[in-house]
């Protein structure tokens, strides 16, 4: 199996934008934030053709930034992302249509002043995948495939419910005939019953079109459901990556273990439940801890962890873990 998508040493820094006012204030001794945030640091992974990689982490861990780099929206500060060896971006602009994206919020990701038919067909028309004359039939076909009535093509986004909008967003992405789909929290804003409908649609279309996917979510059970492999991120780095079944059954990194433990499980018995929260709080990405970023919260932390940052190391079972004590 060869890798279709490859990320090599991806890094993304965000420099604070100093206005003239900030500079003047700083010159007079005011505290102006000048530190650089490293949202993603040195992340490498590969996604094989036809595989779905799930990307999990808490807010601020950099999973969305990573997703936006893979999707070709945000240029990396360092490293590269490629499809079949071809770079996704050149000179700050995306150069491929082989990767498409489904965003979290279907209310924000559709232009409120465009009819949804136009939203679905504009990319394919711009890239010559369909002629303007053939666009209505093309749009009708895609609306049918995502479970919507073709007659709704002339409506505006506000005339749809959240679930229907997400169907439109999926149609827009797939109408570009991509091989790779980046899904950034596609069901996070949906109700439970609608979430199930959209996940089913995703599973159906993924199988029918043979898609390769990067599926980003904070919801561990959703990621478990759709992913072949899973990567867990903490403070801008992948701490564990491997087969989903293996990681969920036997997590090796203490953070993965703690994360899985802290998820409330559906309890069907009346027994009282002991929550096992992770101690402490997420450190500020402005000043990540020295050594292993998780060490201040880790029950197994040693002096080594406080001093040296562990690197992702392959384990006998094929998972890769960044921990001195895995």
């Amino acid at each position: 199996m060869t890798a279709l998508v490859e990320a090599r040493a991806l890094t993304r820094r965000f420099d604070p934008r100093l206005t003239i006012g900030d500079r003047i204030a700083a010159a007079f001794g005011a505290t102006v934030e000048t530190r650089t945030v490293r949202a993603v640091s040195d992340v490498s992974f590969a996604i094989r053709k036809g595989e779905t990689l799930g990307l999990v982490g808490e807010s601020g861990c950099g999973k969305s930034t990573l997703g936006r780099m893979v999707a070709g929206i945000l240029p990396p500060s360092g490293g590269a992302i490629s499809v079949d060896g071809q770079p996704v971006m050149r000179g700050g602009h995306k150069t491929t249509t082989r990767i498409q994206t489904v965003f979290q919020d279907p209310f924000a990701s559709l232009n409120p002043r465009r009819r949804i038919g136009d939203t679905i067909s504009e990319g394919p028309i711009a890239h010559g995948l369909v002629t303007r004359a053939a666009a209505p039939a093309f749009v009708a076909d895609w609306l049918t495939r995502v479970g919507l009535d073709p007659a709704v093509a002339t409506r505006f986004p506000h005339q749809f419910s959240g679930g229907q909008r997400q169907r439109v967003a999926i149609a827009r992405a797939l109408a570009m005939q991509p091989e790779i789909l980046v899904c950034d929290e596609p069901v996070a804003s949906l109700d439970v019953s609608i979430q199930a409908q959209i996940l089913n649609l995703f599973l159906d279309l993924r199988a029918a079109l043979g898609l390769t996917c990067l599926f980003i979510s904070h919801d561990l059970s959703v990621v478990r459901h759709v992913s072949d492999r899973v990567a867990i991120m903490y403070l801008g780095r992948i701490v564990e990556i491997g087969a989903a079944a293996r990681i969920y059954a036997a997590p090796r990194h203490p953070y993965t273990q703690a994360l899985l433990d802290s998820v409330p499980k559906l309890r069907l018995d009346a027994a009282s439940v002991a929550f096992r929260p992770i101690a402490g709080e997420l450190p500020s990405p402005l000043s990540p801890p020295e050594g292993c970023a998780f060490h201040p919260r880790c029950p197994r932390a040693s002096d080594l962890c406080r001093r040296d940052r562990p690197v992702l190391t392959a384990q006998p079972d094929g998972t890769e873990v960044a921990c001195h004590h895995a």
Binding site: K94, T97, Q100, F103, D105, A108, N111, P112, E122, A126
Partner: protein, 286 residues
């Protein structure tokens, strides 16, 4: 769209203002047909009829509803024609300022970097500078005439549009739907004209209504000072100026009626603009 107008109509004051503006605009447009006299036709004026009070029946045989001015012009006619010119100037200046301001604002938001800094610093500088002063200087340099006046008004006002367009465009281009277009990928120009511009336009149109009123009052001020239009095309400002010297001698109507017309028009447009602003402000939406 229907719901929009139904909501608009719920504010009775704004509805009345819209009606008044509509009446004034249609009266000004149809001035050649409804005015009893052509105020530009100097041959039709009779000095015998000069400075007569409202209701006076002059040598032409019809009553001067609002009196006559120092040249014996029917004031009602002069006001209708004056409104025409004022509106012409205001709308022309507003539209040109809207286009230039929108272009600069969106360019600044989209380009970023030094282009953004350069454009927005100039805009900020101009916003902190009194518009009337800038217009005065420009008119003094460019000389009198309709197009010169429009240039002066645009120069004094485009900054408001640029500021609004910049704010709206900066907000829009961060939204997911613009990112989605960039991720397709679609070209930058395509994104700007098909996605950002249509979403920046509504707040700009609100600013435009208020700015048309401002342009009209700015033009009236310049004309009042004798710097606006040539005397052959008297706008409201010049009518007010012409009657000013007679205020103290009891012939109030020569200044007061054009002044009233100006006030009603400007207040009316502002009330319409306020309601449009409230209605398009998502924070006030129920």
């Amino acid at each position: 769209m229907n719901a929009f107008w139904r909501e608009y109509a719920e504010n009775k004051v704004a509805l009345a203002a819209a009606l008044i503006v509509l009446i004034i605009v249609s009266a000004a447009l149809s001035a050649p047909w409804i005015a009893p006299q052509d105020p530009y036709d100097l041959a039709g004026l009779n000095l015998m009829d000069a400075r007569r009070p409202p209701g006076f029946v002059g040598s032409n045989g019809y009553p001067h509803l609002l009196g006559t001015d120092a040249q014996g012009r029917d004031l009602f006619s002069a006001i209708l024609y004056g409104l025409r010119i004022s509106l012409q100037m205001g709308v022309a200046a507003g539209l040109v300022a809207l286009s230039i301001g929108a272009l600069l604002g969106i360019l600044a938001a989209q380009a970023g970097g030094w282009i953004e800094t350069a454009i927005m610093r100039v805009v900020d500088l101009q916003l902190s500078f009194p518009a009337i002063l800038l217009a005065l200087v420009l008119v003094a340099v460019l000389g009198q005439g309709k197009s010169q006046l429009v240039i002066a008004l645009v120069a004094a006002q485009y900054a408001y549009f640029a500021r609004t367009a910049y704010g709206a465009a900066s907000a829009e281009r961060r939204k997911d739907y613009v990112e989605a277009a960039a991720a397709t990928p679609l070209g930058t120009l395509h994104i700007v004209f098909r996605h950002i511009l249509p979403n920046v336009l509504p707040p700009l149109i609100v600013v435009a209504t208020v700015q048309v009123a401002n342009a009209i009052s700015l033009e009236a001020t310049l004309s009042f000072l004798g710097l606006g239009l040539p005397p052959t095309e008297p706008s409201l400002g010049m009518l007010i100026a012409n009657g000013f010297q007679y205020m103290m001698s009891g012939r109030y109507w020569i200044s007061v009626y054009p002044g009233l017309a100006l006030i009603v028009l400007i207040v009316g447009i502002n009330l319409v603009g306020d309601q449009l602003r409230d209605q398009t402000n998502p924070r006030l939406r129920r």
